[in-house]
């Protein structure tokens, strides 16, 4: 960001507009953090943003809540049967409880292609690490370990006494360490995989969000600017791709009074950098749009001839 924008101005606008300036418009699609990269069968490189642990924990909590709700509903629904004396009710309860406990995640992830209600709410999805189909055995494998990873630590937290009742101290310590190691496993690998993910070879990703904004070059401001401002090749050979895209981020922000000052400041900096008089009277938005179009045309033209200039010259 600091390449084109004065840093002071950024934090200032962030404070004025109230929302984080970084998260606006142009930044929406771009997620920070680790990525899963794979080559599609068409030999195109695809990238998926790996889901962060906070979102996954939240999704898990939602799913556990729904599971608990299911069990309570089961008890209520079947207690009627149970009271009537049929032990069919008990058998049904035991089996349904078993299903809810062990197969809630499996059934949903099979049906919804790697999503559970919690994951859906948070925009997460399970995919195979190699980009292949999410087959039944993958879903089984990644969810079979939940017993060990979720329910065991939970019961250890809620009722520490029931776990390894009467076992010697060292056994308790070993169990405790084992549970801690399992729980922290996702922190220690790049793809944030828990044990089940490692067994199945799966990754939890953020659903890719698709938002296509208008091309800045096609906007009316850019067209007006074409007529008003012209740049020499020498002036356009100073900045690189990085600066161009930082400028793109700026231009995609709404043109509010607060941003107007920022635009003016950036225009002044560019003028100085390309060797013009910084005090030259320009209409900031129109100037920047014009500069963006011209700069992009210049850099794209060079790229066609195999020259990619990533950064500014000096």
């Amino acid at each position: 960001m600091s390449a084109v924008l004065p840093t002071g101005a950024v934090s200032q606008t962030a404070a004025v507009s109230g929302t984080g300036a970084m998260s606006q418009a142009g930044k929406v699609l771009h997620r920070e953090g680790p990525e899963l990269e794979l080559i599609s069968p068409e030999h195109v490189r695809l990238r998926f943003a790996v889901a962060d642990l906070g979102s996954r924990a939240l999704a898990l909590m939602m799913d556990l809540g729904i599971q608990l709700g299911c069990v309570v509903a089961l008890i209520v629904a079947l207690s009627a049967l149970f009271v009537l004396g049929g032990d069919l009710g008990l058998a049904l309860f035991l089996i349904l409880f078993f299903v809810v406990r062990n197969f809630y995640f499996t059934l949903f992830e099979l049906r919804w292609h790697g999503r559970t209600p919690g994951k859906r709410a948070l925009g997460l999805r399970v995919v195979a690490r190699d980009g292949g189909p999410l087959t039944a055995d993958l879903v089984f494998a990644r969810n079979l370990t939940r017993e060990l990873e979720t329910f065991l630590p939970l019961s250890a937290l809620m009722a520490p006494g029931t776990l390894l009742d009467g076992a010697p101290g060292w056994a308790n310590l070993a169990t405790f360490l084992w549970i801690v190691a399992l729980t922290l496993l996702p922190l220690f690998n790049r793809l944030r995989a828990r044990l089940g993910d490692l067994l199945a070879g799966t990754v939890v990703i953020f659903e890719p969000k698709t938002r296509l904004f208008d091309d800045l070059v096609g906007e009316t401001r850019a067209m007006e600017a074409d007529a008003q401002y012209t740049f020499t090749p020498g002036e356009l050979d100073i900045y690189g791709i990085h600066e161009l895209q930082v400028l793109e981020d700026l231009l995609r922000r709404p043109y509010t009074p607060a941003n107007r000052e920022l635009y003016r400041e950036v225009a002044r900096r560019i003028l100085r950098k390309i060797g013009r008089d910084p005090q030259e009277e320009v209409e900031p938005a129109r100037f920047l749009h014009g500069f963006y179009s011209a700069q992009r045309a210049r850099l794209e033209g060079k790229m066609l001839f195999g020259v990619r200039r990533e950064r500014k010259v000096r």
Partner: protein, 337 residues
């Protein structure tokens, strides 16, 4: 300016296709791929491929970051739907029990043999040791499982358990309990495999010891025949399931210790799938065993019928894994059919 920009032209020419793909994907996300019409399903891979080609082009000619990121994410989304696999529950189940499960078991037959050997070894140890020194029984069998049976029980008391009349009408509940309890242990067996398989081996062995100790108890009371006829009708299936789950766990452990030419992580992922398939199949086995144990054992007390059921289940599993499990010759042109 915009008319001379190739990236602008690319977008103008192809944007309609991207937008169409986006709408299709949004609907598939909300209501599932099966709700798309056949016309739309036909369009999906075409649009997907066209978007991929746009992405490749955009990466080499466009510096509009929003455009490139949009196409990247669009293609990623489409990839999930096009290559995501979309079988129904019914098809998945059928395929699983007719091909995947028996074949996986057949492939792992050596590990299964090791697993069975461990249990049998445990059984022999428990049997011989308890036969020599009945007091060891207390060490081998936890009170909860003993149902009051111990070396001081009389022959009559021991016999009584074998031919117990069902108390009241609690059969279904009992069967349900047996199934869920055993299946839960099977699942645990799988997960424990991650610890290099050592806990699995211990579990298998101690399970055998327990059974052996019971056997010795009955042999001392001269009830060997009736005891095994009490155990085996459901035991064939149940012990088989335990052995298979154990094999899955052992396999997992082996994949970690001896990853071969794969990295440990990849090796774990590969074996994890196989092992998970076995454990899922075993849940069905536990269900069968639970029903036999919960109903049949309580209701049928004739030794001949018990023997017949034990033999029949053993034969059934042998044929199931032996016939369905053996891979048939797949002609090259049939692959993936």
């Amino acid at each position: 300016m915009k008319d001379t920009l190739k990236s602008y032209q690319l977008r103008r020419e192809r944007e309609a296709g991207w937008r169409e793909l986006e709408t299709l994907l949004a609907r598939a996300d909300r209501r599932g791929l099966r709700r798309l019409s056949s016309e739309e399903l036909y369009r999906l891979p075409l649009l997907h491929r066209s978007a991929l080609s746009s992405l490749s082009v955009a990466r080499s000619i466009s510096l509009d970051r929003n455009l490139v990121e949009y196409l990247e994410n669009l293609c990623a989304r489409a990839h999930i739907h096009v290559y995501g696999g979309k079988a129904t529950y019914g098809a998945t189940l059928r395929r699983f029990f007719i091909t995947t499960f028996p074949r996986t078991v057949w492939e792992l037959r050596r590990t299964v043999a090791v697993s069975a050997l461990l249990m049998i070894l445990g059984g022999l140890c428990g049997y011989l040791l308890t036969l020599r020194d009945p007091d060891l029984y207390y060490g081998f069998v936890p009170d909860a499982l003993a149902e009051g049976r111990n070396p001081t029980s009389t022959r009559e008391e021991l016999r009584e358990v074998l031919y117990m009349e069902p108390e009241g009408q609690r059969l279904s509940g009992f069967a349900g309990f047996l199934f869920t309890h055993n299946a839960q242990i099977g699942l645990l067996c799988f997960t424990l495999g991650v610890a290099a398989g050592v806990p699995v081996a211990l579990l298998l062995f101690s399970n055998g010891v327990m059974l052996g100790a019971f056997g010795a108890l009955y042999t001392r009371a001269d009830l060997t025949g009736p005891f095994w006829l009490w155990v085996l009708p459901h035991g064939v299936t149940e012990l088989l399931a335990v052995v298979l789950c154990g094999a899955a766990g052992l396999r997992l452990g082996a994949s970690l210790v001896f990853p071969g030419r794969h990295s440990r992580i990849d090796s774990l992922a590969l074996e994890g799938r196989t092992a998970a398939a076995i454990v899922m199949g075993c849940i069905a086995l536990f269900l069968v065993a639970g029903v036999i144990e919960g109903y049949f054992r309580q209701l049928v007390h004739r030794d001949a019928v018990r023997l017949a059921v034990a033999v029949a289940t053993a034969l059934f599993w042998l044929l199931y894994f032996g016939i369905l499990g053996r891979p048939e010759r797949v002609e090259p042109w049939e692959e993936g059919a």
